[in-house]
Symmetry: C2
Subunit: 409 residues, 2 copies
């Protein structure tokens, strides 16, 4: 299959191969993507990315979530630069820490308090530690296959992980009340917390919104056992509902983990919680060298302000629905059966009968060459920078993708 | 004891008390400091910090390590702003990732490869995971009392931590070969790695440089057992020796963890390693939403360049020795016995017979009012922004501190 010229990207990958194990760590490793996807970028602006070989695409991954207002959003970058001109990492926080914590508590109905960290994994790990500290118990329930971070207790890989790292993690099936009740029984009075993703977004399978009855049962079981209901809103937070992804369900968690979109790409994560867990949160030791740095907090304050001003979730939903309608029409024109799932702000499109993702990969590779960056098996992300005109341009690129997918046997 | 007016700081602490558990998490909580120390800062420049009530001090904590060139270093901030104008968190890294990884490998003789994360804890945790992956074994040795991060496996607090989180961590005494050999025996053929801090810097006790015979024995035992020698250079890295803190000893680790000073306050950490562990490093899953962000990498590249240009460690050592000589003379003038320990770049001064730190606290509180920010029990940090004139000014402030310490019973 033809690919765009990529000599600079290829040269950088060769250099990286000498000094970085495997070329790149983690989820941004382009080896996990269809052939032709670039690894290195030179520029980002709004919803557009330009790779080191000069190809510009309309992007639907948003740095895998963090970019919620668009790259280099002026309000965010001005706030960050203003704070950077005063100070960033100091011997304590700047005023913006208090302003941001107050804004989080005001915006998130389930939050009586807030603390800040750097990674989503820091936040989910702190939630687990707070739940254990607050209950004096050990077991944590999590849905099988849900991603909650890269620490040994939750990493999707077992390489370098010991059995003891997961000794107190029990599993249930997302949206399956019977399996949840069974896991609570297994915890046998030692249940500290029930961890749940905002919706089911496991790699390579249809996304599932939480069944309202399942969510209610989670809340009931947490109440009955005294365990903490922990909402992992790291991936979905600030895209579905600015008050928390389960606000529309009317289910409020005891603890919630946030990161990704919180500061439009600046490194920050947060834990929010209910009054009942305030003392436990004060009692655990959680810290990092850069956790009081002021610039990412100034960026976060500006990001939340802009998201409220724009009604970001509504805009992203509308743009996601426009994209979905275009995918539906495009697939139909080419006689292709597709499945679209999850919230429109974080859409996933899979081809029917495409177990090896051959159609999905062909679709993405051809669309990329035509100017749109989609993902064949991970949920995508909309941002407030995507306009209707951008969606329509991306759908023209998708047309080339559907043609390529249809050409597969 | 008189304190400086602090009405803004007090008001912010009251507001924070409502929305942040305990007022502030972690090591920057001013409740851990002598009375009168501010919590909130409005401005930082070079080696000077200005709190929200407008008091400016010459600072000897450097944000507890990250600030190695001085706050708002022009070379670093220009490099960061230049990269920010292009892009930060994108769907993959920018060119500067490769440049920075190459610079790390060129600068650090023990490093054949490098990967980047956000927190020091991310780096020590990855070292442990890589050691386990590379050896197929589980036990990690660490010195009793050494700080290696805030994750459940290593946190200095047991609140919310389970016994299983530490099931495979065994302890030895820093600089004690017999205890080290005993711990290796306890690991009983299941030894994955030996973790060691660059020097002993436990809170509230005299610092100890590594005994060369102890360091050699660590290397021998790692070689004999096949375990990884893991140097935790998070706190000391880039202040003692730009090639790694144990280069002067001639002992090279298999894996090393870096953070704090690497990007002069921008959030970044790194793992470097020897060829033997490259495949293991490629095989583990370690990732985070902001770990490929380009701005902190551009800041790190500029920081390392400036540190080499200035011979940062030599400058910081000279300034630290000037501070020490002044402390020695000041204490003598007031008839006070003090002990100074550790590397001059990261000095610690304790008063003799001051088990409750009453003299140390009085010294610090009075010196703070007179314009210098010292710490009574944690190692301090010099930066390249400290000049001889700054040290001499700080020593004038220390004079008030010694007078206050001498006034105690």
């Amino acid at each position: 299959m033809d690919q765009l010229p990529n000599s600079r990207d290829a040269a950088l990958r060769r250099r990286a191969g000498a000094v970085i194990p495997g070329g790149l760590w983690g989820h941004l490793d382009a080896a996990r993507l269809p052939a032709g996807y670039p690894q290195y970028y030179q520029r980002a602006e709004g919803c557009r990315l330009t790779d080191v070989d000069g190809h510009t695409v309309i992007d639907f991954m948003c740095s895998w979530g963090p970019i919620v207002l668009g790259h280099r959003n002026p309000a965010v970058e001005e706030a960050a630069a203003r704070q950077a001109a005063q100070g960033d990492a100091m011997n304590g926080p700047a005023v913006v820490l208090v302003e941001l914590a107050e804004a989080m508590v005001a915006q998130i109905p389930a939050a009586d308090w807030c603390l800040f960290e750097k990674n989503g994994t820091d936040a989910t790990t702190a939630c687990v530690t707070i739940a254990r500290a607050g209950t004096g118990r050990r077991k944590i329930l999590a849905a099988r296959g849900s991603y909650h971070g890269a620490a040994p207790w939750c990493s999707p890989s077992l390489v370098g992980v010991t059995a003891e790292d997961r000794a107190h993690v029990l599993h249930y099936e997302y949206n399956d009340i019977a399996s949840l009740e069974n896991a609570v029984d297994q915890a046998d009075g030692d249940l500290a917390g029930i961890l749940v993703a905002a919706f089911r977004h496991d790699l390579g399978r249809d996304q599932e919104m939480p069944d309202p009855a399942f969510a209610r049962r989670l809340r009931e079981l947490a109440d009955q056992t005294g365990a903490a209901l922990i909402l992992d809103d790291v991936r979905a937070g600030f895209r579905l509902d600015l008050g928390g992804s389960w606000e529309p369900l009317g289910i409020r968690p005891d603890l919630a983990a946030w990161s990704k979109a919180i500061a439009n790409g600046h490194a920050l994560s947060a834990v929010t919680g209910a009054e009942r867990f305030r003392d436990a949160a004060a009692g655990i030791f959680t810290t990092g060298s850069f956790w009081c740095a002021a610039v990412p907090m100034a960026a976060a304050f500006a990001t939340l302000t802009e998201l409220r001003r724009l009604d970001g979730p509504a805009h992203m939903r509308a743009m996601g629905e426009r994209l979905r309608a275009g995918f539906e029409a495009g697939a139909a024109r080419h006689g292709l059966a597709i499945r679209q799932s999850g919230p429109a702000q974080m859409p996933l499109m899979l081809f029917e009968g495409d177990a090896d993702f051959a159609r999905g990969n062909a679709f993405c590779a051809a669309a990329l060459r035509a100017g749109a960056y989609f993902h064949p098996k991970h949920n995508m992300f909309l941002s407030c920078a995507h306009t209707a005109a951008d969606i329509d341009l991306a759908l023209q690129a998708a047309e080339a993708g559907f043609a390529a997918a249809a050409a597969i046997g």
